[in-house]
């Protein structure tokens, strides 16, 4: 393998010795450079994130003050908020598109797309991705799908509004819901393109990690980030095609009269012709992706956090091998637990038993990871950079959100909290907020690598602490209104006097959400202004061991001006006894008599 790498290295080396001409278009738009593509993913993801968060603030205000007209609604929703009162259809659309955008466009493409692209070549010691062209195509497909998703917000009958899970028949029948017309068509088209983009990206990551590692970079010397991206890409390749097939079959049902998911339907005074299909089939197909998807979201965040925690604790990550084993275990289990979303879907209760069993097993590798992170802090020398704060925050919300999974994964308990706010609280903490923290941590940590400048740390501190308080303020009380039986996706609860005593909880939650949402402006300001005015970064500001910090601050094609560095040790030689400095980069040969840790 290494001979092959050397070949590649030489080719690339010859290539960049003289700077070949780059136009604006090839450098900033149709770039094939992984670092530029990473930034493109990040900026697109950020824009989508702003849209997604704005939507959540709007429907949170609707939940808290259901009777009140709101100027913000009038301004942003137009005809969907006559005199400022939000329409029930657009409420469901906001919930739906918020979910879709945050899960796929922000936390899949924005997180995994950004950091896989940025870090895989840099950390394994490669000049670029295996195929720069596919990488570029992957980004532009993602961009196209984002554009289509945004366009779908403006169609006459409204955007898709059947929930981000788009269960048919609601999503299949335009007469069942306004959003199931053109809005849903665009949603499906957008997602189909998104899946193509994601697959191209994933294949590229897998090939790159397997083939382009520099000399000495064995699999057991890879930083955990790379392990996480690698395994994530594999899960993506296994599960995303299934969603594509579900989407295609749904398109067939919608447009060509097939009956894959539909049967025996009487709606608006007429019987439809569909016969023999089952919505439960769609649920299986959807969740076959849908559940691994949450790990596609969270594993890269876990990888980033592991790396940042080790670097900022000035300590090796505790239990490197156990960390890899638990990533693999989570990846394997993630593909056989999808049924826990369907305990009460009408499938055979015996299946429910099997899925309860496999689901609760996931708690084991998750617990191992959490304990290993905590132990990594123990007797460290913690550098409280904003990235470190977000990493600690990640572990905190991951534990809080993950623990309630023990309740939801238990079929007997799921009966009563299924589709209530308890679920909303659970998954927002464990994969929404956690993954977002992972993403923020990654951005604060690798910003100098991306833009050659530093983010302002004080703004970072304020950003973290207010966000952290608000995240708990929003999602912790939400568990309790869920346990009180309040269903999610209700436009207003005022038709149920039973829930009147929960109204004040909803107001509290919304206030936390508003503060937490608005505070992100600080981050956005920090992010965009630092691109131009941030403090110039040094080559290795965090004193990390991994290879990306051996590249020059100024970006260049091919990453390293000379030969690609060789690797002699694992990625976590922090505070190793026998060394004067508290970190030994991977490209420093072992000293005489020094033993590489038997990890």
């Amino acid at each position: 393998m290494s001979a092959h790498e050397d070949n590649h290295a030489h080719e690339a080396h010859d290539d960049h010795g003289h700077h070949h001409k780059e136009t604006f278009v090839t450098k900033y738009i149709f770039s094939q450079d992984h670092k530029m593509i990473a930034k493109q993913y990040l900026i697109t993801g950020t824009i989508m994130g702003v849209i997604g968060v704005l939507m959540s603030l709007m429907f949170r205000m609707q939940i808290a003050w259901p009777e009140e007209p709101n100027v913000l609604f009038e301004a942003l929703l137009g005809k969907w908020a006559p005199e400022g009162v939000m329409d029930a259809d657009i409420y469901l659309a906001l919930v739906t598109i918020h979910g879709t955008i945050m899960v796929f466009f922000v936390l899949t493409a924005g997180l995994s797309g950004t950091f896989s692209n940025l870090l895989i070549p840099l950390q394994i010691g490669a000049r670029d991705m295996a195929s720069g062209f596919l990488n570029m195509v992957s980004y532009w497909l993602f961009f196209l799908s984002s554009v289509i998703m945004v366009i779908s917000l403006f169609v006459e009958a409204g955007p898709a509004a059947a929930g981000w899970t788009i269960y048919p028949p609601l999503s299949a029948l335009p007469m069942a819901q306004g959003g199931s017309g053109m809005g849903m068509t665009l949603w499906l088209v957008s997602m189909a393109i998104f899946i193509a983009s994601s697959l191209l990206g994933s294949l590229n990551y897998i090939v790159t990690v397997i083939n382009l590692r520099t000399k000495g970079m064995s699999m057991t010397r890879l930083p955990l980030t790379i392990w996480a991206f690698f395994v994530t890409a594999i899960i993506g390749v296994i599960s995303f095609p299934v969603l594509l097939s579900a989407a295609l079959l749904l398109i067939m049902d919608r447009s060509f009269g097939t009956s894959f998911f539909l049967s025996d339907i009487f709606i608006q005074g007429e019987v439809l012709h569909y016969q023999g299909g089952s919505p439960v089939l769609f649920e299986h197909l959807f969740w076959f992706l849908g559940h691994p998807e949450v790990y596609i979201v969270i594993l890269p965040a876990m990888g980033l956090v592991s790396e940042i925690m080790a670097s900022n604790s000035r300590k090796p990550i505790f239990g490197y091998r156990a960390m890899i084993a638990s990533i693999l275990a989570i990846a394997f289990l993630s593909t056989i637990v999808w049924g826990h979303h369907m305990f009460i879907s009408g499938m055979n209760p015996f299946l429910g038993s099997v899925f309860t069993f496999t689901t609760l097993l996931i708690a084991i590798p998750s617990a191992v990871k959490a304990f290993n992170w905590i132990t990594t802090l123990w007797k460290g020398n913690l550098q409280m950079n904003p990235a470190m704060l977000f990493s600690i925050g990640f572990v905190s919300t991951f534990i809080t959100g993950g623990l309630t999974g023990i309740i939801l994964g238990d079929s007997a308990l799921d009966i009563n909290v299924h589709d209530t706010y308890f679920v909303v609280a659970h998954f927002h903490l464990v994969m929404g907020i956690s993954a977002l923290y992972g993403m923020f941590a990654g951005i604060y940590h690798w910003y100098p690598k991306m833009f050659g400048r530093m983010l302002n740390k004080n703004l970072g501190y304020i950003h973290f602490w207010i966000t952290a308080v608000c995240a708990y303020g929003v999602f912790f009380p939400m568990h309790f209104i869920g346990m009180a039986g309040l269903p999610r996706r209700y436009y207003t609860n005022s038709n149920f006097p039973l829930f009147d005593d929960l109204a004040n909880v909803n107001v509290i939650i919304t206030i936390f959400a508003l503060v937490g949402g608005v505070v992100q402006i600080i981050y956005l300001y920090n992010f965009f202004s630092s691109i131009f005015y941030g403090k110039k970064a040094v080559q290795n500001p965090w004193k990390s061991t991994t290879l990306e910090w051996t590249t020059p601050v100024e970006h260049m094609h091919g990453n390293w001006p000379g030969d690609i560095p060789h690797v002699y040790r694992w990625a976590y030689d922090y505070s190793k006894p026998g060394h004067d400095i508290d970190f030994v980069p991977q490209n420093i040969p072992l000293k005489e008599g020094e033993e590489e840790l038997q990890h």
């Binding site: 009777e67 709101n70 913000l72 009162v85 029930a88 269960y167 028949p169 609601l170 069942a176 049967s263 339907i265 009487f266 608006q268 005074g269 919505p279 000035r314 300590k315 090796p316 505790f318 879907s345 309860t356 069993f357 084991i364 617990a367 191992v368 959490a370 304990f371 020398n381 913690l382 409280m384 950079n385 704060l389 905190s396 238990d410 308990l413 009563n416 299924h418 589709d419 302002n456 740390k457 703004l459 304020i462 952290a468 912790f476 309790f480 346990m483 009180a484 039986g485 996706r489 436009y491 038709n495 149920f496 006097p497 039973l498 009147d500 005593d501 608005v518 600080i522 500001p541 508290d582």
Partner: protein
Amino acid sequence: MTTFLTIIVLIFILVAIWQMVKIFDLAQAKSENSQVATDKDNTINAYLMMGFLAFIYIITIVCFVKWGDLPLMSNSASEHGPKIDNLMIISMVLIFFVQTVTQFLLHYFAYKYKGEKGKKALFFADNNKLEFIWTIIPVIVLAGLIIYGLNTWINIMGVDESEDPLIVELYAQQFNWKARYGGEDNTLGKANVRLIDIDRANILGLDEGDPNAQDDIITTELHLPVGRPVLFKMRSQDVLHSAYMPHFRAQMNCVPGMITQFGFTPTVTTAEMRQTPDMLDKVANINKIRVEKSKDLIANGEEALTPYEFDYLLLCNKICGKSHYNMQMKIVVETQEEYDAWIKEQKTFKASMTTEIEVETPTEVTTPEVAEIVTE
């Protein structure tokens, strides 16, 4: 308007924060300003970590004290309800324990081991014994939970036909519920949405030729005799719905094209439930809130809210379209005598077919209410 003002205030706060940071930055400008955490940053954030730990504990305690004893958590009204509640309480205690300990360790370590110049961290990369311990402990605990959970699950989902359960069909449509009783023979007649004939009041698509269908009774309220097992057969005519009866710890999706089922035995009548101390408190509290709200409404020239009286409810808990939020049916649990008297008053399918007055179209049932709410 309040929300708009809130946002304006928030934005001002933001601007203030931003200005303060600017000042802070300028003040620091002379000293080393690499944007990497200094010892001072480490110390401040370490203390904030402990503060945050306190915040997590406080918010936990406040939530449990204020909202932890919601009647829905403790007052189950079905035979299997206490089983779920017990399992829930055991899981909650476990979670509470693990949460308290791990959050403490995480934040305390973050505080205790804050970085200082010149300090060196401990090179501690691996320990098989520790890894083994925290693999095996979750294994044992989860094994217990899985066995207990599955036992409960099988218990709940297993339907025992020998107990002669009352058979009731729950029929879902956008956006209301119907209940269908088997009548004298306690057997539901065959049905399919293709047989729906609105003009002849065959609204659930019963097979008019099926002898079992003749005495079926279709109602818009669900009445159940206390103490008798009920087996629900769920159907939906249009999209997915979910029949959620939180007080009975019962939920099952209604899926077009198939019949799903869920069975339970109600144990507390509506009248009894209204008199439980928890429920009296809850209702009093809700009515206090409603009176407050009514004051505002009257001030605006609107009608006051009616006082709330507790009733069991069947809610739709699967997104089903525009009026999903208002798809509900009242459930009445009563004594066998009351139930018998009630069911006697209801028309059988055969009887309702001959009277043309009873005709109701499914769409008209909720639309006026919906229109009202939207324009409110």
